[in-house]
Symmetry: C2
Subunit: 593 residues, 2 copies
Amino acid sequence: MEDFRNEYCMHTATCGQLRATDVNQEVTLCGWAWHTRDHGGLIFIDLRDRDGYTQVVVDPDCVSEEDFHAAEHLGREYVLKVSGRVRERAPEAINPNMITGEIEVLANAVQVLNTSVTPPFSIEDGIETDEITRMKWRYLDIRRPEMLANLKLRHTVTQAMRRALDERGFLEIETPILANSTPEGARDYIVPSRPNPGKFYALPQSPQQFKQMLMCAGVERYYQIARCFRDEDLRADRQPEFTQVDIEMSFVEGDDVCDMMEGVMAETLKAVGVTDVTFPLQKMQYADAMRDYGCDRPDVRFGMLLHDITDIVKDTGFKVFASVAQSGGVVKAINVKGAGDWSRGEVEKLASIAEANGAKGMAWVAFTTDGQEKSPIKKFFTDEEWAALKAEMEVEPGDLLLFAADKPEIANAVLSALRLHMADAMNIPREGHALLWVVNFPMFRYDEDEKKYAAEHHPFTHVLKEDLDKIESDPLACGSYSYDLVMDGFEVGGGTIRIHNAEEQRRILRVVGLTDEEIDEKFGHLIRALELGAPPHGGIALGLDRLVMLLARKDSIRDVIAFPKTSSASDPMTGAPSAVTGRQLKDVSLRIL
Amino acid sequence: MEDFRNEYCMHTATCGQLRATDVNQEVTLCGWAWHTRDHGGLIFIDLRDRDGYTQVVVDPDCVSEEDFHAAEHLGREYVLKVSGRVRERAPEAINPNMITGEIEVLANAVQVLNTSVTPPFSIEDGIETDEITRMKWRYLDIRRPEMLANLKLRHTVTQAMRRALDERGFLEIETPILANSTPEGARDYIVPSRPNPGKFYALPQSPQQFKQMLMCAGVERYYQIARCFRDEDLRADRQPEFTQVDIEMSFVEGDDVCDMMEGVMAETLKAVGVTDVTFPLQKMQYADAMRDYGCDRPDVRFGMLLHDITDIVKDTGFKVFASVAQSGGVVKAINVKGAGDWSRGEVEKLASIAEANGAKGMAWVAFTTDGQEKSPIKKFFTDEEWAALKAEMEVEPGDLLLFAADKPEIANAVLSALRLHMADAMNIPREGHALLWVVNFPMFRYDEDEKKYAAEHHPFTHVLKEDLDKIESDPLACGSYSYDLVMDGFEVGGGTIRIHNAEEQRRILRVVGLTDEEIDEKFGHLIRALELGAPPHGGIALGLDRLVMLLARKDSIRDVIAFPKTSSASDPMTGAPSAVTGRQLKDVSLRIL
C-alpha cells in the first residue's frame, strides 16, 4: 500500500488502494456512498474517493445496531468513514474490471460524516447532462471519475514540465497580472486603479514583455505556468483566461529553443504514458505545410495531401480553373480514397464547407469502384489534361477528387477544411499523437482590412539574417526565426527568436505602421531595455489547456479546467460576473453607461 | 562542470562555473562586461552572468586585431561572447573571495553580441539608488547579484514546496482569476465583463471558496501557488498582487493540517540551507501568545516577556494603575535588561511608541547598574507592592521596566511594540529563524466600529466542538480550529479547519450579521455544496512573498518580487496603470467620472 495519502487524516487507505495482498488488514476508508444495495440481509456499499472505489459489506452481526441503521438509510453521496477488515471476495464475486475487485471490506464501524440531498445529476462517467448544469454544480461534476482523471492528468503534465525545466536550469518567476496593455492583438481585460482615477491595468494576454525584460535582466532561463487573458468571443477551445507554459532563454539562436523544448516534451509525454512520439521531431517549413496541408497546423496522422494542379489546368477549357490559374491564383485538389461511390447529392453537400471557407463553389470528380468517371467538369478537359490530372492525383477506382481554385490562402483554407472533414467522414484512423514543428513563418502579412502590414507572429520576432535588408523594401519576402509546435492538427505551442537590437526593433515597428512617437510611447521601455545590453534571446509558449485536452482526448478545454466559464464568460456556480455596489464604482471613479 | 545550463545555447560554460580542475579546457562564455581594465598591454574583463563572474584576459597576441579593438572599446554592460582557454592564475593573482578566483580565461575570440548605453545606476550590490529608479529600470536592478539571488531563492523555495506537496498526494489545480466578489474583508479589484454590461468579475483575494469547492468535488488534497489581489493602501509588506501557497485537505481535523505543513516546511527549509529550526514546532495557544508577547505573531527568538502585574497594583496609590485594574483593564510590564542606565529623556521618548499604539502615557522604572531606582511612580507604591513588583519582574541592577495599563488589547499592543523596539535598541541578537504555531484563535471578535461580531479568521472556520452550543449565546467565548504559522515575528501562514455542515455555516453567518436572504444570495453556492456531501476539510495558506523575504533577510517583499508596484500601485517600468481608449471603455459600457 502506498501511504502518502493517508498521513494526517482520518483514513488509513484510499478507496482505490486495497488488493488481495492486503487481506486481513484492519483499515479505515473515507469516501462517498456511490452505489448501495441490500442483498440477503447485508448492505453492500461502493465507497468512492478520488482513487477509485471499494466494496464495503455491512453485516448486522458485525456492527452496532446504530451503525447498521445508518447503513440502511444511506442516501446517494453521503460521506462515510468506514472501519473494517479486508477480506477476499468469494471467487464468483471477484470483479476483474475493478482495481479493488479482488477484495471487499467487512465493516465493523460505519460513521456518516455528512449527509447529502439528492444530487441534480448522477455522479457517473458519460452522463449527458447539459454543460451549464454541470458547471453550476461543478463540485459534483468533478466527483465523476473521468473529470478527476482529467485534473490528475493536468497535474501530472504540469509537474513533469516543471521538473524537466528545473533540470535544465530554468528559474520559475512570476510576472504581474496587473499589467499594462500590450499589442498581442486581442481585446484586453481592463482593471481600474483606485489610486489612479481614470487609469487602468490590463490583464496580460501573455507575459511576453516581462519575459523579454527578464532576459535583459540576465535571468538567462525563465519559465512560468502563466495565466493569460483575452477578452474574445468564446468557442470550444477558447476561455477568457487560459494557461500557458511560458519559456524564454538567452544566448540562443535558430533551433536552440526547439531542441530544448523537445527534451521537455519527451519527458512530459513519458510521464503521462505517451510512447508513440519519436524524437527528434520533424521540422516542416511553413511554406511546405501550406503547400501540402493548406494550413500551418497540419494533422500529419493521415495523408490526403493537397496537390497543386495549376500548371495542368492553366489552359483548360474549364474556364473557372483557367482564369484562376492565369490571374495569379492556384488550383489545388485532394484525393479522398474510398469516396468515389458517393452520390452526386452527397458530394455536392460538401460545397457548403468550401463556401464557408471562402470558395465560390467546389468542383469534383468521382472515380467509382466499377470504373466510371463522374464529374460535371470532365467534359472541359482535353485527354492530355485529364491524363495529367489523374497521374498527378494518383487516381484509382474508388477515389473522389475535390478541387479548390482561388487565391492561395482561400484554396488552402478550403482544402484544409475538406481534408479534415473527409478524414472524419471516411473514419480514417487518427490514433496516437503526432507532434511536429512548423518553422520559418513569414515575418509579415498584409492586412487587407487595415491596409497595412502586420506581424505574422508578433513584432518582436527576429527576421531571418538573409532577409534583414528586405524589411522595408519587400516585407512579405522576409522570413522569421519562428516555430510552432503542432500536435494532432492543433497548434500547442509557438515561439520565436526575438529581436535584441534596438534599431532592428524600431524598423519592424515602423513597417507595421507605428510612427517614431508611437514607438517611444508604447514600446519605450522595451527599446530602452534593448539599448542597455539585451542578450540574444528567444522563447516559446505552450497552450497548457489545449495540450492536456489533446492528451485527455477531449473535445473541449472546458473538460480540463476545474472552473471554466460559459460561452458568455460567466460562471454559473458562483454567479460571476455580478453587479457591484455604487460605492465600489465610486471608489474607482466609474459610472455604468 | 555542470552542463545543464549550456545545452542549446552559445556558451559552453557559465561565468560562475570554472575551477582549477578546468584548466586547459577550451570554453565559450557569454555574459556582460562588468569591470574592464587595461594593464600592461592586456585587457582584463570581469565577465558576469547569473551564475557569477570570470576574469577574461585579452592579449593582443592571442586574438585578431578586430577582436582586440573591440575589447579596447568595451562599454559597461556590453554583451559578449568570449572563447578561450582556461588557465591557472599566477599565485599572487588568485582571488579566494571569488568562486572562479583560481582561474582566468585567455581569450582567443571576443565577439560583441550587443552594446549598451551607459546604465543609470551601477550594477553592483548594496547600491543606494532610490527604489523608484530601480523599478523603472528593473531589468538592470535584477542584474545585480543580490537581486538575482533573491529570485533564485524564491524559485528554490517554490520548487521545494511543490515537490513536498506532490509527494504527499496533493494535486496542483488552477482556480479562476476572473472570479466573484468574496467577503475576505479587503477591497476587491473589479474587472468589467464586456458581454455582461454593468457586471464585474472580482480578482480573488484568495482562492478560499474554490478550494472548498474542490474538497466538495472529492479532490481530497489540493494546492496552488496562487496569485491573490487586494486593493488596499500599500506598505512595505503589502502589494496589490501577492502570492500564496494555498493548500486544502479533506478528511482532516484538529492538528492534521499543521502536521502536514511541518513536513513540507522542514523539506523546504532544508532545500534552502536553513538548519536551525527543529521539528515538531511549538504550538502556542493564542491566549498564551497574547499574554506573554502581546501579539499573535510573537518573535520568540528573544525573551522580554510581558508580565501581568494587575493583581500586584490593584490597590496601589498610583491611581492610573489602580483604576485600570479595578475597571476590568490590565497592567502589564516588560523588563528591558541593560537599559537601566538610560537617561530619563531617552526613556521618556519611548512614550511616543506607547501612544502610537493607543496608550495615554507610559510609566517606567529604571534600576541603574550602581543600584539606584529611578522612577516617577515609585513613590506611590507601598514597600510590599514594590517588592512584589521587583520579584515578579525578576529585577536586577541595569534593568528598565516599561508599563502599560489599559484595556487588554491596548496594553498588549503597546508592550508588544515596545518589546520589539527595545530588542532593536539593545541590539538583542535575532539570528537564525524561529517558527512556531499560534493556535485556537477566538472564533469571533466584536467590531466596535460596525457594532457587530466579525469572524477572527473567516466565517468558514469550524468552531471548537465544545463551544458549538455557545455560537449564539456567547460568541466571544467560542474558540476555533485555527492555526497561524509564525516566523521571526511575522505571520507567514494561516489556516483553519472549515465548516462542512450547512446548518453550522448558516449559524456562523447569522452571528456575523447576515440575514437568511443575504446568506442565500452571497453564499448560496457554498451552502448548496455543503448540503451535497461535503467532506470534513481544512487548509492553510502561506504568504510566499513574506516567507521568501524572511529567508532572504530583506525588509521589503518588493525585493523578492520580480516586478513589484510602487506605493501608488504603479509600475514605473511599463507605465501601468495607464489611460485606455474611449473605445475600450465603450466596449465595457463604462464612463470615467
